[in-house]
Symmetry: C2
Subunit: 315 residues, 2 copies
């Protein structure tokens, strides 16, 4: 392998880009929930600790969904207990699907939660077993009680660009669902391209439409999957539109179970590389992150799909 240092990108800033972004790391939750095998709780805890150690401020840690839905994350209470002992400080949201999940999250002492809505009726039915309107109704007491308890609340909206059953999703429909969820009092919106079909013009249009409806880029995060190789391009477009919170998964872990593809979320390393080239601060130590991905790939028994991990890891 060539020396890493010689290959680091030259830093050349670009007009219209932010000075700093926050990476919202989703590997332990969005990544591991899509793994076939169940990762031991100890490995998950070490994964989260390594991510925090590499400089990631926000790490979505697990999910309080019923174990029958996602057995991969059924150890949520144990995992949080193990992590509580480590004394790490950064924000570690957990996903909660309903009031029961919120109860469990509150019992575990979390400080931040995320709810998970859908921009399409078909996915709402398949994922939440109810209509979009019914899911907003279900989330209403979850958000109200979470805020009363002082929690920070994020609203994911999935299928914002395309849906495997419905095809392309109209921008107005997405904006409508986003507005209804944000009206509940959420702190942050994350627009998800769950099946990775979005392209840069579509991203720009959705962000402009959200802004026109009173949801500014400063409240919006982006969540791209790399199914068709567009995740980083879409993310950089969002940054030029004022977004400063980006969802990414270390090593490119994850993937949508409804799209047959080897690729998952935008790889955190590929994003960090782009930001380093642009002089955008992320707070992340790239070497430590690549080391974490190589370690995790060993645990999972398969190589990371991240280009940066493959290149720097000498794979």
């Amino acid at each position: 392998m060539l020396g890493m240092t010689a290959n680091l990108p030259m830093t050349v800033p670009m007009d219209g880009m932010p000075d700093r972004i926050t990476i919202y790391e989703v590997g332990p939750r969005d990544g591991l929930q899509n793994e076939k095998s169940v990762v031991p709780t100890e490995v998950k805890a070490e994964f989260v600790q390594r991510l925090v150690g590499a400089g990631l401020e926000t790490v979505e840690t697990t999910s309080f969904v019923p174990p029958s839905w996602i057995p991969q994350l059924s150890d949520a209470p144990d995992l949080l207990q193990q992590l509580a002992d480590t004394g790490h400080g950064p924000k570690r949201p957990v996903l909660v699907p309903n009031e029961r999940g919120l109860d469990n999250a509150l019992a575990a002492g979390v400080g931040a939660i995320a709810i998970f809505g859908s921009a399409t009726e078909t996915f709402a039915q398949k994922n939440l077993n109810r209509s979009v309107a019914e899911s907003v109704e279900m989330f209403t007491p979850v958000v109200r009680r979470a805020r009363e308890a002082g929690l920070w609340v994020r609203a994911y909206v999935s299928m914002c660009f395309g849906d495997p059953w419905e095809g392309p999703v109209p921008v107005e429909q997405v904006v409508d669902v986003c507005a209804r969820l944000m009206d509940l009092g959420c702190d942050q919106l994350s627009i998800g391209d769950t099946i990775g079909v979005g392209t840069v013009g579509h991203v720009a249009k959705l962000l402009e439409s959200l802004d026109a409806q009173g949801i500014p880029a400063s409240k919006t995060a982006v969540h791209f999957h790399d199914t068709y190789g567009q995740a980083l391009s879409n993310t950089l477009t969002a940054l030029r539109h004022g977004v400063t919170v980006v969802d990414a998964s270390t090593g490119g872990l994850g993937g949508c179970p409804y799209a047959r593809s080897a690729t998952g979320n935008l790889a955190t390393e590929d994003l960090v590389w782009a930001c380093r080239g642009l002089g955008i601060e992320t707070g992340v130590d790239l070497d430590a992150l690549v080391g974490t991905s190589l370690w995790m790939a060993e645990q999972l028994g398969r190589p990371s799909p991240s280009a940066v991990v493959r290149a720097l890891g000498g794979a």
Copy 2:
């Protein structure tokens, strides 16, 4: 596999993007020259014919370098003879390293050639066995004689963003080499990120600097490798700066032998997907192209690194 149609991106144009681009396909040359195994001439011929059949206007077909340098392409005369019989019309440039190569290319009846310079002294020595100045001297009669013979001439410049031995390459140095090669009378410049370290701000700065030195985007093509996952983002940045010729390799074939990575050139399919989303005309039939990549992957005995090929091919 889900239906392809349901997953196609929604077309949403973006300000500042061209209506149409020309894809300069480099798979048969840049792709296959980096394969360990030598692909049979008949397979290469079928590959080129399939690419042309899928709508690619320009396909760089082979290279007239000495067989001892690149045995993978030592069948150049045979390949061109096989292709001449097929009556395909589009532009099919071949690489020539020196006057001897030009002689052979002229004997084979080609209509377009490409020369291959370096932005750095180290790579000029390693690849051409001479200094940058000496290589410009070597190319001078090649370009003059090619133009006298009525050929179209492209000048590649490699290591325009970083060099594995020298690290980041100063933009002024790159512009200087590009200007010297274009001054010889070349029709088109292709700026190459041979080791894939470039990022979007760097791309914008180089294109602006070239333009300031009298080499406009209308004469410049871009050639990105996806080693660190930046190829498509860099390409889209170039399009916003007026570039309309993009080098890409079907299936993402290729790769720099000096950088250990599984990924090679920007995959033509991933570019076509992005363009389809943006409403940018490429003339390419995506289904036919994906089919070609799946066929070629079978010939090579390994899967394509293209995200689109993996997703649409059901791999």
